[in-house]
């Protein structure tokens, strides 16, 4: 499988990343080898095997409980004012 510049750029967009030129070369080379190995799964005749649920997920009762204090939640924000997160404008 050819991991070319176009595919890397597409995956960078999907992943919300900007890779450096050096990272692009390393990751493309590694992906090439890793995906070659992963493609071996096609040897397995699995199409008629039903996919089992990965786990049981028991939902708890939908009851109202106190939520975290706003100031606590804001304490880890890189940029904030007294009551909200600050980010660049969403719309011009």
């Amino acid at each position: 499988m050819l991991i070319d510049e176009k595919l890397i750029a597409y995956l960078e967009d999907l992943s919300y990343l900007y890779l450096t030129d050096n990272e692009k070369i390393r990751i493309a080379g590694d992906m090439e080898k890793i995906l070659e190995g992963m493609a071996r799964l096609s040897e397995l005749g699995t199409d008629d095997i039903p996919v089992k649920p990965q786990c049981i997920n028991e939902l708890r009762k939908d009851t109202v409980t106190p939520s975290f204090d706003r100031n606590l939640i804001l304490r880890n924000a890189p940029e904030k004012n007294n009551e909200m997160f600050i980010s660049p404008k969403v719309q011009e």
């Binding site: 995956l11 992906m31 996919v51």
Partner: protein, 493 residues
């Protein structure tokens, strides 16, 4: 006090041989005295621990029977959220992040009167098998500081091995508790998926992640697993009704059927490791277990299925790091999308980026069926194979890793080789099963070898019983990196 087990230490505290504060101070001094020689701790929460120690001592003095581990120091891998203690996942992305809540496992440690001494180094976001990918530097193996401690819970395993902490919590997504335990000659349990709450465990691959104990022996690990296991309303996938209660005192393995996957002992497995693991099986046979060999052909596909599923889940889980609510924010960004992209690009290390990119690929249109869906099918096949094996065997015994701890930097530039190092551990996570990793010898370089016992879902009791009996009859787990005396007593192979 450093030479006794965690359970013995708690008893000594109860019998007033030591106060909780004395023990806490002694361990803090030991950690600081080591001066980060092994790079095990990321954060030492000394003041908080000393306050906690005083409070626990009061509870003990008032006659409260808190738990079998009351007063014992403990540490947590730095991907387990701790209220008011920085939790970094060994990543620049989370440097300075101080959780506003405790993980359920962390809460339960405190309820059991254990003293949290700090947070342990690891691979960044638990992605790695050598504890070399973290932003805080490589964890060093106490047995040879030029070698890796294994990963991703390398700090926890090396910390226990170095005697800096009697017990630690790690997390295991594809072998991250068992492999560093094997590399550092300590004991560790990867519990059944759903036995321990994942609430507050910073997610890597949610369908595979599980928190588990690392300690000096099976008894200590069992006691810690009792503390942290059991249902939790904050994690719907945690289904174990009541915490484990390990009380069996039987001394025999009579009637226990142990299966050994013949094809695991191939040319990829180091000879010294293979011999030590076979010797461990023979030891269990002497205590009454019946051994039988079988073939596990699906092993050849487990690593591929694992990395597809783990990377897919990681690419989704790590999308939460956007530079807005918490974590690193780039100063370069002008627009909102740039905040996301620059922050993630500058905040994540290379291995994390590689796995996010792989995850995006296997989930993307055109490749989803050939990779992700195929991996889910393979996972089902592996689960089915284990279901059928546990109709024939109570326990499966296997190596943990193909080699002992390798030199720092030896494999870091070859991710494929690194991924293949997980060949004996990942299928356990894919099938959601419990496994325990135990020391069983040394190789030609005097580096520790471990083996693992794998059981059916929620059969921790069977595994711990076998592990206990093995450790009653052997002394590998008593070896210390700085004590030649016990090492001789065990005899070289």
């Amino acid at each position: 006090m450093f030479d006794i087990t965690a359970l013995e230490l708690s008893k000594a505290i109860k019998n007033k041989k030591y106060s909780v504060t004395e023990v806490t101070e002694a361990y803090i001094e030991k950690i600081r005295g080591n001066n980060n020689k092994y790079n095990t701790f990321i954060t030492i929460s000394a003041d908080r621990a000393l306050r906690q120690a005083e409070a626990v001592q009061k509870r003990i003095d008032s006659g409260e029977n808190i738990s079998a581990l009351a007063g014992v120091p403990v540490s947590l891998k730095d991907n387990i959220s701790t209220l008011d203690i920085e939790t970094t996942c060994a990543s620049k992305m989370l440097k300075g992040y101080v959780p506003v809540y405790n993980a359920t496992a962390a809460d339960r440690l405190e309820q059991a009167g254990m003293i949290v001494l700090g947070k342990m180094n690891m691979d960044e976001f638990a992605m790695g098998g050598s504890s070399e990918t973290g932003a805080l530097g490589t964890v060093k193996n106490p047995w040879d500081i030029n070698r890796v401690a294994g990963g991703s819970s390398g700090g926890s395993a090396a910390g226990v091995a170095a005697g800096e902490i009697p017990l630690s919590l790690g997390s295991d997504t594809g072998g991250s508790i068992r492999q560093p335990c094997s590399f550092c000659s300590v004991t560790g349990i990867k519990p059944t998926y759903g036995a321990v709450s994942r609430y507050g465990l910073i997610a890597y691959a949610s369908s595979l992640d599980q928190i588990g104990p690392i300690g000096k022996n099976a008894d200590d690990c069992a006691a810690l697993l009792s503390v942290i296991s059991g249902k939790d309303g904050m994690d719907g996938t945690c289904t174990l009704e009541k915490p484990f209660d390990f009380k069996s005192e039987t001394q025999t393995q009579k009637g226990i059927r142990i299966g050994i996957p013949r094809n695991y002992f191939n040319k990829e497995l180091d000879d010294d490791v293979g011999n030590a693991v076979i010797n461990a099986a023979k030891e269990l046979e002497k205590t009454g277990a019946e051994l039988e060999e079988f073939d596990m052909p699906l092993m050849d596909y487990a690593v591929e299925a694992y990395y597809i599923i783990a990377c897919a889940e990681a690419s989704s889980n790590l999308s939460r790091y956007d530079g807005i609510k918490y974590g690193y924010r780039s100063q370069k960004a002008q627009t909102l999308p740039e905040v996301y992209r620059f922050s993630r690009s500058e905040g994540f290390g290379l291995e994390v980026k590689r796995r996010i990119m792989l995850g995006s690929f296997v989930l993307s249109s055109g490749y989803y069926d050939a990779f992700y869906k195929k991996a889910l099918h393979a996972r089902s096949l592996i689960k089915n194979a284990y279901d059928s094996l546990f109709g024939r065997y109570d326990i499966i015994l296997s190596p943990v890793a193909p080699t002992t701890a390798y030199k720092i930097g030896e494999n870091i530039s070859d991710p494929l080789k690194m991924y293949m190092g997980d060949i004996y551990t990942v299928s356990v996570n894919l099938a959601g099963l419990p496994a325990i990793s135990l020391p069983c010898g040394f190789d030609r370089n005097k580096m520790p070898v471990g083996f693992q016992l794998i059981g059916a879902a929620f059969s921790e009791n069977t595994l711990i019983n076998a592990a206990r009996i093995y450790q009653l009859n052997t002394e590998w787990h008593k070896n210390k990196f700085n004590t030649k005396q016990v090492y001789k007593k065990c005899g070289n192979r």
